[in-house]
Symmetry: C2
Subunit: 634 residues, 2 copies
């Protein structure tokens, strides 16, 4: 009677870690990719970041039911002196979502329109250009990253990919696995009465488990307890499959041939784990592939599938389990809600300063991007009209580990998406969510504890210093890290048809401009330069028309009648616009002090200083990464 | 400009309820079944209860590594006078799980065996028959219900079905759905640049959502905004599909043709729901099938899919969402655990008396049934050796709504499984878990607040009364309901080869008996009858060998050398044994007072009194249901 001896017995955590490290070392966790049609990509994992190939929406549309009109035709209208508009000439009727032809530059909601007859309407107020228009690229603009690599495709991501012209995706290949039952005493469950043997049912469980976990399984015939046969079947299996499972007949007992075979042909990393049930497991590597000896008792088997096999599959697939749960959080902003309806507000959750923060995404039933970006939904009951900033809310959460969520606000930059993507290569469970609220908005959010990091590029003319004077109006205890220097300038149409040379051209009568929102870094810089050069803002045609990101300004210049906007070189390059450089600015990351103590922040610094980050920045263009990752204050 | 008018607008809850009722009325929630191979049944829903076609395990096996021996050869062994056993004659070596040949009737663990040479061992203690044997039918016996109808097949259920000889399953048919995008303004996302139209991407979301929810979707071509065409496509679709979805092009806008078509050809139950986003939804029934008009905005669409479509699919599939979460509970019993290993203990959770109770299932790595029955796992860390009764524990829970869980203990009866199954027809989310701890064990569990109901059939010779005298030793405030009268008697092999006529035969030398555990109703009754008839227990061959259920006694008589056991007629019938009736007994349900106030309990009473319950009892045989559902105390 030989007793079982576990030569390489470990605690679960240690054993799994040792095995994962060995699998990493032999390259098992590197992924092969395959290209598939986007509309068959449900549940698959992206192998590369996915970039938009067209703007979403790619057309201007009505944000309200009402009339699309030429805004000039409304000027001078008032309650006391309404204006009459003529259909086809001044306006057309539109429904929410309808594309708006180029001749119309605004929408007025139907509630503000009095219908005179079928050809005429009366209006009582002037309408500003872009009023209630949903602009081109509101969801995402050409060249922007829609999702990072290692993103699991959900049902609501597919419409966004298709709308953005992404018809094929490179996704991680599915694993092929073989399940090899072993043992003289076992036979097919249909044969037991005749044979006097015991039924082999374990392979059916492993097969179903693998299917459930997106692995394609093949079940081998039962292999008798003959070491040579076991060896030959495993060797053959390694040619065709990515992962090999053997199952002991019943218990390991005295006939533990698999262990000896695996010691001979490969490396047994773990033999036996201190868990009950589940102890008799063998974790080996042969020909750089995992070969796993599963225990023969069904309950042990299920434990090993859940506790050992599942984490290996998740890591190979660069994914994690999402679970639906209700989480207590605080709202990061004040929101109004409809009194007569139950409202669902999508957002992202993150743990900031010992509390969980819910940051709502842009609302609006048409916003495809809010589906892809959200990880949580706040339900505001009918009758409740306001959710206050800081108010405690209960939110349904669908994401991964909250401790791996990074929330970034402030001024957006294309490199932020690169950072999000490269962090995935450090740890695929990290999710970096960013939203664009402008530099000043970002500083305020950090000072109030609603985000981990904020991108900021605010120039202070008095001190000639970037960011710090603004930050220190709100907080003294913070960490500031440089991300890049960027070239600011004028984005103009390709070929520069209007021959724009500099800021002084902005006041020309034949030129239309689009501005950025107040307190954004670019707006602050522009206003400073205009003043310095003595240029009269009021003479700039379009100074009061605001967009909230570089990319949205770029898309206006690209797609509409706007001639010029101010923004960074990288945005112009991505949108294939011409660019007139004006100034070099510093783009920093303001970091919450608590967050700066975490290993996530260390990882961010590592990425910012990496060659890969630099080469991605070079590929986009318009960046100077000399000081990237340098701690300026902290 | 026509505005949208929602004629049948409702709040979500009301609208969904109205629609569900209409769907119920037209028979949509009745299910068609299909027969599929068991090993392809992962994730499918059973349409009927599944009964075991053979015992699991169907053989006696070793519960320990050691020797299988003839127990008689060990009698007289002691430390001072060990016995030497000869291989092949007195014993063989066995591993845990090995089938044990009929000539051996016990196992002795290897730690208690001294090996003399390869043919001889020395033992130092007598071994009782059945010691460390895993009996036939320990998981489940022939004729027992493995799972009720509407059970979702998990990966770990499949081995049990196969082991029990169930190679095919009748499962609910998958739904076939068609998705019909409508609108003049939309086109395929690949065609937008050329056509100037807007991309139709919503159908890709609906399709993926349906796949995720186990519905087979087909996407129709885009149908223009022409009522006649919409009508004709819907009419055609109703011939081939179980459920029809239309999607508005962008917004409902002024071109809300679908509503008018559905009003014409069927019944619109709801038009507009007070949710945001998601309002413009149409819930109609045409030709007894659901036709659902989905909103055209993607965020609205996703809300309606989650809040309206998903509940309809879940109800049609008689299933519910299981989520994995950690729940605080109290342990219902004291358990020991291994000091050197992390141990995972499977059990069931239920809310009893304002707390959540964790009831462990039978442990043992070979217990297939513990996989199918469990809904939760308690992890006992390495180093912790005891979990006390009432101790607070944190348990991973995988089940449905805890408020729909019913926990039954006490004496088991085949009708309890029938009750569990018929409750599913009342409300498919109800899960009744039962475990067999004997009548007395059941009373104690109820008195301590660890279960909702307990089956009990304890005869009190002094009062001539059933159950009440025993219960009132522990509690005064309770509810008692009759489930059945049952015939108790002697189960003997088919044809009664030993000519057993009554209890007095039990002391015969040529007869072997198997008993029930102390404090079980059957044991109490037997002891009373033996005393009354003046029969000497000590002369009964096997009086000290105990089994814990009627079915396990029956399987012993059926499969082994045991001649007779006492038990109920239904067990004998299911196992196809002959039966000698001895007494009629009352089997009651002891109900926790709090639980008796719930609607679940009302539903139980309704089922107990139903014709369906009576006819199931008649089919099994051995029951008198005159008083079933009658409240005896309460």
């Amino acid at each position: 009677m030989r007793r079982k001896i576990y030569l390489k017995r470990r605690d679960l955590e240690v054993g799994l870690k040792d095995y994962m490290e060995e699998l990493e070392r032999v390259g098992f966790f590197e992924n092969d990719l395959e290209r598939i049609p986007t509309d068959e990509s449900l549940g698959r994992i992206t192998g590369f970041p996915v970039y938009a190939k067209r703007n979403v929406p790619h057309y201007t549309s009505a944000a309200m039911d009402g009339i699309a009109l030429k805004s000039r035709s409304s000027f001078g209208a008032s309650e006391s002196s309404p204006k009459i508009l003529e259909i086809g000439k001044d306006f057309i009727f539109v429904n929410t979502g309808d594309p708006i032809a180029k001749e119309y530059d605004a929408v007025l909601m139907i509630e503000k329109v009095r219908i005179v007859d079928e050809n005429k309407v009366m209006i009582f107020e002037p309408v500003f250009p872009t009023n209630d228009l949903r602009p081109i690229g509101e969801d995402i603009t050409v060249g922007e990253m829609i999702v990072t690599r290692y993103h699991k495709v959900e049902h609501y991501d597919i419409p966004l990919f298709l709308a953005a012209g992404v018809f094929e995706l490179d996704v991680l290949k599915r694993l092929k696995a073989v399940v090899i039952p072993t043992g003289d005493e076992i036979t097919s469950p249909r044969e037991v009465e005749r044979s006097g043997k015991i039924p082999e049912t374990n392979s059916s469980m492993v097969k179903a488990f693998l299917i459930e976990n997106n692995v394609d399984p093949v079940v081998n015939d039962i292999v008798p307890d003959v070491p040579e046969e076991i060896e030959s079947v495993i060797r053959d299996a390694l040619k065709d499959f990515d992962i090999v499972f053997t199952i002991a007949g019943s218990s390991a007992g005295s006939k533990d041939f698999t262990y000896r075979v695996l010691e001979k042909i490969g490396k047994v990393v773990v033999h036996g784990i201190n868990i009950k049930p589940g102890k008799p497991v063998i974790l080996a590597v042969v020909n750089k592939k995992p070969v796993i000896g599963l225990p023969g008792f069904p309950v042990s088997l299920d434990v090993v599938l859940q506790k050992v096999v599942k984490p290996i599959i998740l890591r190979k697939y660069k994914t994690y389990e999402k679970s639906k749960k209700v989480i207590k959080a605080v709202s990061s902003i004040r929101m109004s809600s409809s009194i007569s309806e139950e409202e669902y507000i999508r957002g992202v959750l993150a743990n900031v300063k010992n509390r969980t923060v819910f940051s709502p995404l842009k609302r609006g039933a048409a916003n495809l991007i809010s589906l892809t970006r959200h990880d949580s939904i706040l339900t505001v009951e009918k009758g409740k009209v306001v959710v206050d900033e800081g108010e405690k809310v209960r939110v349904e959460y669908y994401g991964g580990k909250l401790e791996k969520k990074i929330l970034v606000v402030g001024s957006h930059d294309l490199l932020m998406d690169v950072l999000a993507d490269l962090l995935k290569m450090e740890d695929h469970e990290i999710v970096l969510s960013s939203s664009s609220v402008g530099s000043m908005g970002g500083i305020i959010a950090i000072s109030r504890g609603y985000a981990h990091m904020a991108g900021t590029h605010l120039f202070d003319p008095k001190s000639g210093e970037y960011n710090i004077p603004y930050i220190e109006k709100f907080m003294k205890d913070y960490v500031l890290v440089n991300m890049s220097y960027r070239i600011q300038g004028l984005m103009v149409k390709r070929g520069n048809p209007k021959g724009i040379k500099g800021l002084s051209d902005l006041t020309r009568d034949d030129i239309t401009f689009v501005n950025r929102q107040k307190a954004s870094g670019t707006r602050v810089l522009l206003d400073y330069l205009l003043e310095k050069e003595g240029i009269d803002k009021s003479k700039i045609n379009g100074y009061n028309v605001e967009e909230i990101s570089h990319m949205n300004v770029a898309v206006k210049v690209k797609e509409e009648s706007i001639d010029v906007g101010m923004g960074i070189e990288s945005a112009a390059k991505v949108m294939r616009l011409d660019f007139i450089p004006i100034a070099k600015e510093r783009y920093d990351l303001l970091i919450d002090r608590e967050f700066a103590k975490t290993s996530l922040f260390e990882m961010i610094l590592k990425v910012l200083k990496s060659e890969r980050f630099k080469s991605e920045a070079e590929r986009i263009g318009g960046y100077d990464l000399t000081d990237s990752g340098k701690v300026i204050r902290g």
